[in-house]
Structure formats: structure tokens, C-alpha cells
């Protein structure tokens, strides 16, 4: 049941997730890939149901950070300056196109200054025009780190605002309360001239349009609608749909047409907006969703879901049901990492990597429809991916034993492995245990049943596990949003938390390469530096990549234009989907 573990991924989402590419139909040859993608006529009208298992933590644009939600909100309610178009071609669907702006932005001063012009005639759901000030206000909310939590915080380090004395955080602390100096600095960093908005950065940000399209942090926000944390589940739309009534955290909500949306300011390459109504249904388990979609009756005929089919249901996916499935390689990569506080000996870590049975892990998780073996923490679809960085496969217990022997440690070497526990994850962990024990380790499994606190636990600097499970997806398709946030010790390691650097990894060599990559103005040069940095991680065994999750999704028979695009991180893309 991949879906169970996806919950843990969704928690990672809180920490960071992502836009990244998802190549379609990786490795599957059963002919069911994207069957019926172009089936049926694209007609307007009808009601589409979108099944989601667990509650969204936020619907506030500046706080949205879950791969599934980012693009679906883009397609329905939250338009941005630039966004990703609908396309089955991964490269095309992750190349930004103008949305609320007239173009994809003009950079100057070595990518330190970016300028956008807001289109005329774009309106909020109450009919008022979207102004440059709304964009500026939206960006200002990111700085209120005590209120607007959970969202991406790249702006904090990039925007040209001096840091507060004696702190790493900016002087400006958001629209709710800030010192006049902070406010002045912010007003200088983002300026409005009529319909033109200009951003000034401290350091070059060559892929800034990618970041805008991939996240919602730069979205406009109406100041008079902002109630801080109370607006967490408010949806104030500027897209083709608006929320009908209020959002129910446990159940979801219904999107209906927004009368103040003008299609002439938009493109059907971005949103087709076919259904009259979109019901977002939260709370059913993956098993319930699979049962209902296999049965395919009533409203389920026009339903899609973000949940993968649980492995236990694979044998029911035959004949007509199989024609309604799609297999997509997700942008999320899972990995395990040694705790550098306890596994200080390099040879012990190398032994761990050598005896890791990735094949057994993947098979215990449901086989090749659930996971694909990974050999790099960078997803294959992300720039900077290196094939064969790690060996993968069944592992080599003999080599592991030799390494442990030459390390001169006591054998069997005792280790504890912590991971979010589900019946499937427990079996996957048992596969690792068997491999490691063959390689000379003595393994204690520590499955954490409370998945909501899993990441909080492993971020605790005092946590005792020797080997830790983690999952990550790139924020935008560049390795700079993978290895840098996960292994750069400087922003991560504090007294109270390990941040995303769960294993407390510290390397001056790696940090230096990350700095060089961030300063690079040329994307190819940046990629090269990041690949070098990734090699440093592999040399130190800072992590061991395990798998890339496969999305194996079912839909109703009356869904048209069904597509899982790279823009929507491999989830069903609401841009083109309609119903018969």
C-alpha cells in the first residue's frame, strides 16, 4: 500500500515538496499507460469528483507546499504571474508561460532583478482588478514566519532585505507587525510602478520564473481579505472556479464557476476549465477509493484520485478496469540516511550501503507498480540526476562483512532503523533487516506508528536511531532544491532541530560546492557543481537512495482528457480534465 507511506511523504510536504518532473509511464510495458488520455470529446459541464485521502494542512496560497495541491489550485482558483502549461511532454509542462503577467519576466543585473507586468482586465472573484500591490502584499506575507507557516521560504534568503541584527532572519517580519526599517527595506526590495512589479534580490536567481510557477509563494493576495492564520482555509479566487460555501478541513469543498473570471485573459493551454463543478472529497481510505473506482458507478464514473491503487488490489485491475489506469513515475524519491552522530565510521556506513537490499525493499512494497529502484536522491526527471551513483540491487553482504572487519568494529554491529510504520512499510523494513543482518549488522526495527509526528521526531537532535528513512521531491526541477536543502548543515542544524538534515551531516566540501552552485548564473555550470556535490555525499554515504514512488492511479469511465502531467507532480492535472 504505497498510499500509506505517501502520507509520510505528505508530511515531508509540510517541510518541503514540490514541483518536479514526472516522466510518464516509466518502465511499464503492460500497455495500460495513459490509456484513453485523449478519450472522449472535451465538452464543458458536468461534475468532477477528486478523491483525496487525508486533510490538506492549508489552502492559503502562501502556505501551500504539497505537490498535489500546487498545480490543482493553479488550474482552478489561484493564478500566478507565470505558470506551467498543460502538456504530456515533461519538458514543456515545466517551462513557465505567462499567466497573470504579460510575459515570463525580464531579468537584469545578472539575474538579481526581475520585472513583470500584470495583465489588464484580470479580476478577483468579487470583480475588483488584480493590482501590482496585491502581488506585493502576497509576497510580504511570506515574511510573517510566525503566522504564515508551512509554506516555502526561499524569499527570506533571496529578497534584498538586510538581516536583523544578531539573527539570520530578515529585518522585515511581515505585514502584521514589523519595524518601520523592515517595512522600508521591503518597500525597496519589491517596487510597484503602475502595473509593473520589480523584485530585487541579494544573489542571482536564474530560475526565479520556475520558482514562481512551481510554488504559490509569489501569488497575489488581497490585503482586505487577510485575517492571518484565520485565512488558512479561506479560498479567495481569481481563477475560473471559486469555492462554494466554506472549506471543511475533514471533508473538503466544492468548486463552482467564478462569474468574474474572464477567459480572454487566460489561455486554454493553461486551463480548459471544463467541468461546471469540482468536488474535492477528503477522508476516504485508499482501499475505499479503489473499491469505488473499480465498481465505477454513479458519481464515481466522473471521479479521479490522487491515491495510488493499494498493492492488494492489483489483481483486480484487469480488462476494462485496467484501461482506466495510468502508471506514472512520481517526482518523489525515498532514501535512508545514517545518523552521523552515531555512525561516525565511514567504513561502517559503506558496509550499510553495500548490504542494503533495495530490490527486496521495492518488492515488499508491492513490486514494480508501486516503486522503482533509485540510484540517486535526485529524481531521474530532475536536472542533475546521475545514474548509477549508488549500486542499488540486492546488495552485497560479503563486501559489507569485509568492510566491517576492516573497520575493526564488533560484529554483528548493532543498528536501529526508524521509519513510519504501516503493515506494508513493516515488511519493507523486514527486507532491509534481512539484508543488513546478512551483511554483519544486528538490526532493531523502530517503526513509528504516529505518522503525523514522524518528521518532528527525526528532526530532534537527540533522536537515537542509527538509520533514518526520509522522502523528498524537488521544489522545482533542479537539484539545487534537493541536495542543498537536505544536506547543507548551515541552515538546517540548530540547537533544537536538525531541520531537513535528519542525519546531522556536516561537510565543508559539500557546503562550498553548494555555495558555488547558488552563485552560478549559468544553469549548466550550476548543474555540474551540484553533481559534484552529490558525489561528495555519495562518497561520505550521507544517504542511500532506495526508491522512486510509482503512481498507479485509477479513474472513472466518464472522465475525459485525463492527464498526469509533470506540472502537477504526477498527480491528475485538473487543467485538461473534463467529464462526459
Amino acid at each position: 500500500m504505497a498510499s500509506y507511506r505517501k502520507k509520510a511523504l505528505a508530511v515531508a510536504a509540510a517541510a518541503s515538496m514540490s514541483v518536479a518532473l514526472a516522466a510518464c509511464g516509466g518502465g511499464s510495458d503492460n500497455g495500460s499507460n495513459n490509456n484513453g488520455t485523449k478519450s472522449g470529446e472535451a465538452t464543458k459541464g458536468g461534475t468532477l469528483t477528486y478523491y483525496i485521502r487525508s486533510a490538506m494542512e492549508h489552502t492559503d496560497p502562501q502556505r501551500t507546499y504539497v505537490g498535489r495541491d500546487i498545480t490543482n489550485w493553479s488550474r482552478t482558483v489561484y493564478r500566478s504571474l507565470v505558470t506551467f502549461p498543460i502538456s504530456e511532454d515533461a519538458a514543456k509542462s515545466t517551462t513557465p508561460v505567462p499567466d497573470l503577467a504579460t510575459d515570463t519576466g525580464q531579468s537584469s543585473d545578472g539575474a538579481k532583478t526581475w520585472k513583470f507586468t500584470v495583465k489588464d482586465g484580470v479580476k478577483w472573484e468579487d470583480g475588483k482588478p488584480i493590482t501590482c500591490e496585491d502581488f506585493k502584499y502576497g509576497a510580504s506575507r511570506v515574511f510573517a514566519t510566525d503566522v504564515i507557516t508551512g509554506g516555502p521560504n526561499y524569499l527570506l534568503t533571496y529578497l534584498d532585505i538586510p538581516t536583523a541584527p544578531g539573527s539570520d532572519l530578515p529585518l522585515y517580519t511581515g505585514p502584521y507587525k514589523s519595524s518601520p526599517e523592515g517595512k522600508a527595506a521591503f518597500d525597496k526590495a519589491i517596487t510597484c510602478d503602475g502595473n509593473t512589479i520589480t523584485y530585487h534580490f541579494k544573489k542571482p536567481w536564474a530560475d526565479f520564473p520556475l520558482a514562481i510557477a512551481a510554488l504559490h509563494m509569489m501569488d497575489p493576495y488581497r490585503q482586505d481579505k487577510d485575517q492571518g492564520d484565520k485565512s488558512n482555509y479561506q479560498i479567495f479566487s481569481n481563477g475560473p472556479y471559486k469555492l462554494d460555501g466554506t472549506w471543511d478541513k475533514q471533508k473538503g469543498g466544492t468548486l463552482v464557476r467564478n462569474p468574474n473570471y474572464d477567459p480572454s485573459t487566460d489561455s486554454t493551454d493553461i486551463r480548459k476549465a471544463l467541468p461546471d463543478k469540482i468536488i474535492i472529497d477528503i477522508g476516504k481510505t485508499s482501499e475505499q477509493i479503489a473499491d469505488q473506482l473499480i465498481a465505477n458507478s454513479g458519481a464515481d464514473k466522473t471521479a479521479v484520485t490522487s491515491q495510488s491503487i493499494p498493492a492488494a488490489y492489483y489483481s483486480q485491475i484487469t480488462g476494462d478496469v485496467a484501461k482506466r489506469t495510468v502508471t506514472v513515475t512520481s517526482p518523489f524519491t525515498d532514501y535512508i540516511l545514517p545518523n552521523f552522530k552515531t555512525m561516525t565510521n565511514l567504513q561502517v556506513r559503506q558496509a550499510l550501503a553495500a548490504s542494503t537490499d533495495v530490490t527486496g525493499w521495492v518488492q515488499a512494497g508491492g513490486g514494480d507498480k508501486a516503486y522503482e529502484e533509485a540510484t540517486d536522491i535526485v529524481n531521474p526527471a530532475v536536472k542533475g540526476y546521475q545514474k548509477d551513483l549508488f549500486p542499488g540491487g540486492k546488495g552485497d553482504p560479503e563486501k559489507s562483512k569485509q568492510l566491517l572487519q576492516s573497520a575493526g568494529v564488533q560484529m554483528p554491529y548493532p543498528i536501529t532503523f526508524t521509519y513510519p510504520s504501516t503493515p506494508t512499510a513493516d515488511k519493507m523494513a523486514a527486507a532491509f533487516k534481512q539484508g543488513w543482518e546478512a551483511g554483519g549488522f544486528k538490526v532493531t526495527l523502530d517503526g513509528v506508528a504516529d505518522q503525523d509526528t514522524y518528521y518532528t521526531n527525526i528532526q530532534n537532535p537527540g533522536q537515537k536511531a542509527d538509520v533514518i528513512w526520509g522522502g523528498w521531491g524537488a521544489d522545482w526541477p533542479s537539484a539545487i532544491t534537493v541536495t542543498a536543502p537536505l544536506f547543507d548543515s548551515r541552515p538546517n542544524l540548530t540547537k533544537n532541530s536538525n531541520g531537513q538534515d535528519y542525519g546531522a551531516y556536516k561537510s565543508a566540501e559539500f557546503n562550498a560546492l553548494v555555495d558555488q552552485a547558488q552563485e552560478a548564473t549559468d544553469l549548466d555550470q550550476q548543474t555540474q557543481l551540484l553533481q559534484q556535490a552529490d558525489k561528495v555525499l555519495a562518497k561520505d554515504v550521507a544517504y542511500i537512495p532506495t526508491d522512486t514512488a510509482i503512481f498507479y492511479m485509477l479513474r472513472g469511465s466518464d472522465v475525459t482528457g485525463y492527464m498526469n502531467t509533470a506540472a502537477s507532480n504526477g498527480y491528475p492535472d485538473l487543467g485538461p480534465i473534463g467529464v462526459k
Partner: protein
Amino acid sequence: MSLPESQLERLETSVPVDVADPEAVLGKSPTQLALGRFRRDKLSMAAFVVVAGYMIGAIAAPFLNKFGVIDPFTLHQNLLDPTLGSVPKGKYGGISWSHPLGVEPGAGRDVMSRLWYGVTFSLTIALLSSLVAIVLGTVLGIISGFTGGLVDATIGRLVDLTLSFPQTLMLLALSATGVALAARYLPGNQSDPFPNAFYEILVLGLFGWPPICRLIRGQVLSIREREFVDAARLLGASRRRLYFKEILPNLWAPVLVSFTLTMPAYISAEAALSYLSVGIKPPTPTLGNVLVDSINYSSSDFTFFFFPALLIAIIVVSFNLLGDGLNDALDPKADR
């Protein structure tokens, strides 16, 4: 006016009996009578045999595991089909001579070994929780019934209070903290069997005593009015002697019956709690956590779902039948 004891004895022995050895008939104690009644009840005897079989199996499993007869932990992933969600190759859950009940999907561990080993853990949990509940219930029931007054009222309210607590909710809400606390003092971490089992047993037991306490108190209320209790009291027996030497031996019938009836309740409770991920965690098997994993496979690998469900059903039904049989045998006048 009651008969002097000397006369009673004489009367009894003088009754003419038409048996070869009159002493044998006369010597039949209430226990022997009850046993005789129990033996004649075929259904109860069958239930007893099944329960005894489970018990022997449960005791044997750790040794069988040690000597490699059963192997609940080794993966056999070569027996699985990776294209179909790693369900076993072949029909009926991969049943073969080396895996008589098939292998589990995903990891391919031997189902028979896991269930056999799981019985040990499930029965241990049920047994220990029952013991906690019975000991607490009996002791408090005796004190409450015998003492009366304020003590009785206090214990009575305590029973009401405990009964009104939502037990499952408590188990769930406190499980993380409880297990963490237990893990601090017991060997192993929070997903090891010891701390988890300790917590589960403690909470199940602590919430299980009130019905037993009420039952025992009722019995004690009638026993304490009997002459031998008065006699003991007049002879200056201590409270402790009264409770445990005079009254307790007269209570073993209801205690035994409630024990055989709490056991199956706790076996099913263990399975239900596994579903809510409280209790012993895999890779250590219990009937509950094997069943939980198998539920989702009820359509794609029915065999895997069938055997754990069957084993739990058999043991629960057997224990209940045994309890009823014992109740009938020990208390034949009870109206049911």
C-alpha cells in the same frame, strides 16, 4: 435450632448405601461432582481439547522457532509475483509442502510459522491481562463485599467510574506516551514487543476488573453471612485470614469462569487494537497484526486472510464454550 455436629456425622454414616465401597461414593467432593458433570458435556470437552491444543502450541512455538522447525522471519520473495503487487505465485496463497498455509504477500514469510508464533504472543497478552483483571477484581471485590459501608461505596463508585471510561480511546490516546514510558524501563525500543505488550496488558487489565469485582462482591455478600465466617471471626482471625483463607477458597468457581470468559475477549481485543496500531508491532507476529495486514488482501489473496481469521475465530469460540461449560458444571442450579 441446628443439629449438633456429632449427631449429623452419625446420621450420615448410618445411611445405608448399596455400593461395594461406600466410602468412595461418600467422598465425592463438590469439585469431583463438577468435574463429572463437565466430562459428560461433550461440547465443553471438545472446547477444552482445542484450548489445551492452543496452549501447548503456544508454549512450544518459541522452542520450535529456536530449533528452526518454524521460521516466522525469513523472507521468501522469490515466491512472489512482483507484477501483481507481490502476491504469492501459484494458487491458494502459495500453499506448498514447505509452506503449508502459504506465504504472505510482500515479504513472503511463511504464514504457518507466523501464525504459530503469533499464537504465543496473543495468548500471552490475553493471559496476563486476564490475570491482572482477575487479581484486581477479586481482591477489590472481596474487600468491598466483606467490609461494606464507606469502603464498599468507594469501590462501587470506582467501578462505575472505570466502566464509564472509554477504554479503547484511552488505549489509543495514551499509547505513544505509555509505550515510551514503558520503553524507558524495559528492554527494547518503542517498537519492540516488551514495552508494547507491557502497556497493552496493563491498560487492558486495568479496565477489565470492574465486572469481575461486581460479581465477586455479590458472592462475598452471601458467603460472609455463613457460619464458618462468623466462627473464624469469633476465633479472632485477622482480616487477611478472613479474606484469603476463609472467603477466597469459596470463590474459585466464579473466578475460574470469569477467567475463561475474559480470555477470548482479550484475544479479540488484541486483534482489534492491532488494527488501531496499538500493541505488539511487526516483525514480531501476533494473531492481530497478521490479520490486520491480511484484511486488505481478502480479495486478491483470500488464503492469506482466511487462516488468521479462522485461527482467531476457533480460539475465541472455544474459550467461550469452555467458559460456559465450566459455568454449567460448577453452578448447575444457575438459570440460563
